[in-house]
């Protein structure tokens, strides 16, 4: 065996037995370093005759390449096993639970959600949203709405009053959102199409009444809006809101001072173990009051009843929320119990739209 061949065997054996990068580097230095064995062989090429060089050159260079490649391969192997070894020690317990994201835990109150639903439905029918103050005058809350002074209908309202002013007048908390109808008619020229959601107050408190509740009213004033249109709008609303294909409604004549004719509206439903389904069944459930705006109200708001006419309706937001989403108790709406809000509330990104659906 020639020296070169022996050197190759030795070096390859040393490379194979190198256990880590340092050992491998020592082998590299001993072979290819400044005073390495192969480097020394290469240096001998200069002193050789051309014939000798022709023979030895490829052999030495071949040795150099072979050993170099072997070192590189061994290096890669060592790196791979070092990585494997490192990765083996790097583990996480992927079953550890995540933190709940805020967007998952936050909640929108059912009243806000239902107001957004109402807005989506009525905006589509060309209605704007009107609002007004909670503290109202007797004139806007009653007189302009055709509640005669001393009429029994006033008593039915259980009004909250503020202390009398020096002139004897007293402000009150609006008992319905109807004063916003007055404000709208006084400030805006017909045609008018608005819905009016808001807080309302009556000094009444029991299982089904709270001193504060929410109403939404609708008002349409133009030169031709009539009861047939009113029926259609309410039918469209009920179908959209309760998300049913058909809804059977019953209009019963009734009395409100501010409308003439006046009606109460029932929708047909089926009650089953505390659950209410619309569009089926044989029970009737009262959901709203409505009517043609009383000529006196139009006159009180500066509109000529021979020229303008229209209709209005009103219903309880809390009530329709309860009917749609099945909350059994009104009082819980205002108790801010996070267990209730978490259960009956809505996720912040479940924004009601007609395109994407009102309810999540």
């Amino acid at each position: 065996m020639s020296d070169i061949a022996k050197l190759e065997t030795d070096l390859l054996a040393a490379i194979a037995s190198a256990k880590d990068e340092a050992a491998l580097e020592a082998v590299r230095v001993s072979a290819l370093g400044k005073s390495g064995a192969i480097t020394a062989l290469l240096k001998t090429l200069g002193a050789m005759t051309p014939e000798q060089r022709k023979e030895q050159g490829p052999a030495i260079n071949g040795l150099k390449d072979k050993v170099g490649a072997a070192i590189a391969a061994a290096k890669e192997n060592l790196a791979a096993s070092a990585l494997d070894a490192r990765l083996n020690s790097e583990t996480v317990d992927v079953t550890l639970p995540l933190r709940e994201t805020p967007a998952e835990t936050g909640r929108i109150h059912p009243i806000s959600q239902v107001i957004d639903e109402l807005t989506a439905i009525f905006a589509d029918m060309g209605f704007a949203v009107a609002e007004g103050p909670d503290i109202e005058t007797d004139d806007y809350n009653f007189t302009k709405l055709n509640f005669p002074e001393g009429h029994p209908a006033r008593e039915m309202h259980d009004t909250f009053y503020f202390p009398p002013k020096p002139d004897g007048s007293r402000l009150l908390l609006r008992t319905h959102t109807s004063p916003v109808q007055v404000r709208t008619m006084l400030s805006q020229k017909p045609p008018i199409r608005v819905i009016i959601p808001g807080r309302t107050y009556r000094s009444d408190s029991d299982q089904t009444h709270t001193p504060m509740f929410h109403q939404v009213e609708g008002l349409v004033i133009d030169k031709s809006a009539h009861m047939g249109h009113l029926k259609w709008i309410l039918e469209e609303f009920c179908k959209a809101f309760f998300e049913v294909d058909q809804v059977k409604m019953r209009f019963r004549p009734s009395f409100f001072p501010f409308t003439e004719p006046s009606m109460e509206v029932d929708i047909q439903c089926k009650r089953d173990k505390g659950e209410i389904r619309f569009g089926e069944g044989s029970d009737w459930l009262e959901i709203l009051g409505c009517g043609m705006v009383h000529p006196n109200v139009l006159r009180n708001c500066g509109l000529d009843p021979d020229e303008y006419q229209g209709f209005a309706w009103g219903m309880g937001i809390d009530r329709i929320a309860m009917l749609k989403y099945g909350m059994p108790d009104l009082r819980a709406f205002f108790e801010a119990d996070v267990r209730w809000l978490n259960h009956y509330g809505f996720r912040p990104l479940d924004f009601p739209t007609l395109a994407g659906g009102l309810s999540p």
Binding site: A103, I108, E131, P152, F162, P163, M227, R347
Partner: protein, 805 residues
């Protein structure tokens, strides 16, 4: 308003079933609230006779009775009623029967060692009457084994109508029948009372004396019937009254009650022997008193209208008679009064004295003036029929004639307002059946409302009558197109802000609460409110007395309630109205939130991934800025200055403003004193933002966004750490750096704040990273260093900060 089916049929000829009648009533606006069938309700309770009643061996107050149900096999019952005795007829409930008043179902049981096979029933135990002093005593001739309610004649369905206040005519059964008679369900039997001719002058005169004040009595009719024999009224009459919940008293009183319900015409009867001299209708003098028929004594004033004799007040006009002149079994001469009263005054007086009588109910709604005298005739005839006697002439003071309303009604109004078409013949038929007078053959008719319909004033009322009778279901549902107007946002800016604020806060993990608009006076005062004009005159409770000046107190209480229930880490918000005064412009929309204990914005509660830290002012600051950004506030222009209102921790709170004149909100830790005053535990941080105070966005001509300019050169970041006095605000250092070169410096962030070893006491180190964005060419090291030096110099100049070595 209650009545029985047979009573209705006195005035209405119909073959319709109870269900059909009930449905029709509801559909013409006389909403049926309840149909009660006592015979059915009480069919389990049967008549028995008590064969024997002996002392219970082990209980002084109990008796052991043997009762016969009619089959000759007496049953043993233990009974504690004082009136249980041998020989009486009583009412028995057998084992298995539910007793509503006690909420029990009967079973065979032993009472003090003696077996009892049922229960002898008192009226109160089954909700039949208020009588709980003893068991029900049945008449001696009551047949054994029959349901007692049937024996008492309660086998007639009682219909209860939820009468709207505009329909005084339907406070009488005949008015209800007239309405039904206008529909296809039956024919109204119009029974006008006949005149009863007087045989002698009425010995008592009536004077209406209101002096210079407004009259409270348009008319008053009176007549004497002498030689009557008063006693229990006949069975049919008692049965009518009992069925609708009235107690029969004596024939004279029962007649007035009957006519009240039959015709909606309240009357009053005086025992003539107890009336002294003539009658005067007048205002009471302040301090006059009257013991009324309900046994209570009322103190009156000048706003009360009374009927007085020469001795004093004898009756509260239109509301309730006096006890002293009431009719009893001994009455032989009776004065019958039929009068008209001022509806407003009756309502006021009734409310003030707290009397809800059947008379008040009718007079405050308005009774038919044209029926004042016919009602008196009807009463006279009934008195003569039931009690005998001889009637005097009628004396009348005042004038009952009503104002007549004539309405010019174009038939087109029905189409215009209701979208409904009816023929002239149909219109006239309906109106005439309702008692209206309709004249004219063209499409424009004259309509006069009957005297019993004070609610009818104009054309819309006529439309209502027609629609009501033909049925609203006949009005065709008509599509209402939204029109050709462009689709525009329908929300006002504040509405839009409100809705965005809610979603933005919920996305940050807060839960929306809706709390009362009112708080207690003390809470209002604690949070900057408590003005007298915002305190309710009639609050429902002391803790709900004042309009809220802030949403914080309501939310703090809510957070504490949740904590008390075991939910300590709560994050709540509300977006709603607050009140700074009683004018519309003093009402603002606030967005307010609270975080409690470990409810941090980075995650709620303890978690393996991070050390559990309590909420701090920066959680609240982040919420406040999220709301402001969502609601469209110019975030770049917002300044934060230390401190806030008194309810915040002075050193750990801030105010968000656009200059000192426009404060948008506050955030921070709640003041320990506020927590103590609200009995709330911390740690508690919160914010309040007034959405109305956000400046309006400038209207944009186009929806296009400005063109995006991207620099081809890489941004360069340089870090600086400054040592400054502890009092120096980070914002001042950031601003100092920014002002050095607004074009080149694209951003400044604070990445470290340090106080402690290595830094002199009273000082702190603040480290900022400045991002430079070259636009025209890559910056050289020399240029970057030069800019760095400028930043150091500017920070030193403005804050005294020196570069940390």
């Amino acid at each position: 308003m209650k009545f029985t089916l047979p009573w209705l049929k006195d005035h209405l000829d119909t073959d319709a079933s109870l269900t059909e009648i009930v449905d029709k009533l509801t559909m013409i606006g006389l909403e049926v609230e309840n149909v009660e069938d006592k015979a059915k309700e009480y069919e389990a309770f049967k008549v028995v006779s008590v064969v024997s009643a002996v002392q219970h061996p082990n209980a002084d107050r109990l008796r052991v009775c043997m009762v016969d149900t009619g089959d000759g096999k007496p049953i043993q019952i233990v009974c504690g009623a004082p009136n249980a005795r041998a020989g009486m007829k009583a009412v028995l409930g057998l084992p298995g029967t539910y007793i509503s008043g006690k909420n029990i179902t009967l079973s065979v049981g032993k009472i003090r060692d003696v077996e009892s096979h049922g229960m002898l029933i008192s009226g109160a135990e089954i909700g039949f009457s208020d009588d709980h002093d003893g068991i029900i005593e049945m008449p001696a001739d009551a047949p054994l084994g029959k349901p007692f309610a049937e024996v008492l004649g309660l086998n007639e369905p009682v219909i209860e109508i939820n009468l709207t206040p505009n329909r005084p005519d339907c406070t009488g059964v005949n008015g209800i029948a007239r309405d039904l008679g206008a529909t296809d369900i039956g024919t109204f039997k119009d029974k006008m009372p006949k005149q009863v001719k007087g045989t002698f002058p009425c010995p008592v005169s009536v004077t209406l004396d209101f002096g210079q004040t407004q009259s409270l009595c348009p008319a008053f009719g009176l007549r004497l019937v002498r030689g009557v024999k008063n006693g229990p009224s006949p069975e049919w009459l008692q049965k009518r009254l009992t069925a609708i919940g009235l107690r029969p008293i004596n024939a004279l009183v029962d007649i007035t009650n009957f006519i009240t319900f039959d015709r909606g015409r309240p009357l009053h009867v005086f025992d003539a022997a107890k009336v002294h001299g003539n009658l005067t209708v007048r205002r009471a003098q302040n301090g006059e008193t009257l013991k009324a028929l309900d046994g209570k004594t009322y103190t009156l004033d000048q706003a009360t209208c009374v009927i007085a004799d020469e001795k004093g007040v004898e009756s509260l006009a239109g509301i309730m008679g006096g006890e002293e002149t009431g009719c009893s079994e001994t009455t032989t001469d009776v004065l019958i009064e039929s009068a008209l009263w001022d509806a407003f005054n009756i309502a006021q007086t009734g409310r003030k004295l707290g009397i809800n009588s059947d008379a008040r109910y009718r007079f405050e709604r308005g009774v038919d003036p044209n029926f004042m005298l016919p009602g008196l005739e009807l009463a006279t005839q009934m008195v003569l029929d039931l009690c005998g006697g001889e009637a005097s002439d009628i004396v009348v003071a005042g004038d009952p004639a009503p104002k007549e309303t004539v309405i010019d009604f174009p038939l087109t109004d029905l189409t215009r307002l209701a979208g409904l078409r009816l023929s002239l013949a149909e219109v006239r038929r309906i109106l005439e059946k309702l008692g209206f007078f309709a004249a004219g053959q063209s499409d424009r008719i004259k309509v006069a409302a009957p005297s019993w319909r004070p609610d009818v004033h104009g054309r819309a009322d006529i439309v209502e009558e027609l629609v009501r009778i033909v049925g609203v279901d006949q009005v065709p549902s008509t599509p209402f197109p939204r029109g050709a107007d462009a689709r525009k946002p329908v929300l006002t800016p504040i509405q839009s802000r409100t809705r965005k604020a809610k979603r933005a806060l919920a996305v940050r993990g807060l839960t929306e609460a809706v709390t009362w608009s009112f708080v207690s006076k003390r809470e209002a005062e604690l949070f900057g409110g408590g003005k007298p004009e915002l305190a309710l005159a009639n609050p429902i409770a002391a803790e709900l007395s004042d309009m809220r000046p802030s949403l914080l107190p309501g939310l703090m209480m809510a957070a504490q309630r949740n904590a008390d229930r075991g939910y300590a880490d709560v994050a709540l918000f509300e977006v709603g109205q607050i009140f700074k005064g009683d004018k519309p412009e003093d009402q603002f929309i606030a967005a307010t939130g609270l975080r409690r204990a470990l409810a941090k914005s980075s995650g709620v509660g303890r978690h393996w991934s991070a050390k559990a830290e309590p909420v701090d002012a920066f959680d609240a600051k982040a919420d406040a800025f999220a709301v402001l950004a969502a609601a469209g506030a110019p975030v770049q222009a917002l300044q934060v200055v230390p401190g806030g209102p008194a309810w915040f921790h002075p050193g750990r709170s801030g105010t968000i403003q656009i200059g000192p004149q426009n404060i948008l909100g506050h955030f921070g830790e709640l003041h320990p004193r506020s927590l103590a005053a609200m009995k709330a535990d911390g740690p508690l941080v919160g914010f309040e933002v007034i959405l109305d105070n956000i400046p309006a966005a400038k209207p944009k001509a186009t929806r296009a966004k400005p063109l995006l300019e991207l620099s081809p050169f890489q941004p360069v970041e340089r870090d600086f750490a400054f040592v400054v006095d502890s009092k120096v605000r980070a914002a001042d250092i950031v601003r100092a750096a920014q002002t050095v070169d607004r074009k080149l410096i694209a951003g400044v962030t604070v990445f470290d704040v340090y106080e402690g070893p290595g830094i002199e006491p009273g000082k702190k180190s603040i480290a900022i990273a400045v991002t430079l964005q070259p636009r025209d060419k890559t910056m050289t090291d020399a240029e970057i260093d030069a800019l760095g030096a400028k930043i150091v110099a500017e920070v030193a100049k403005r804050t005294g900060g020196v570069l940390r070595g």
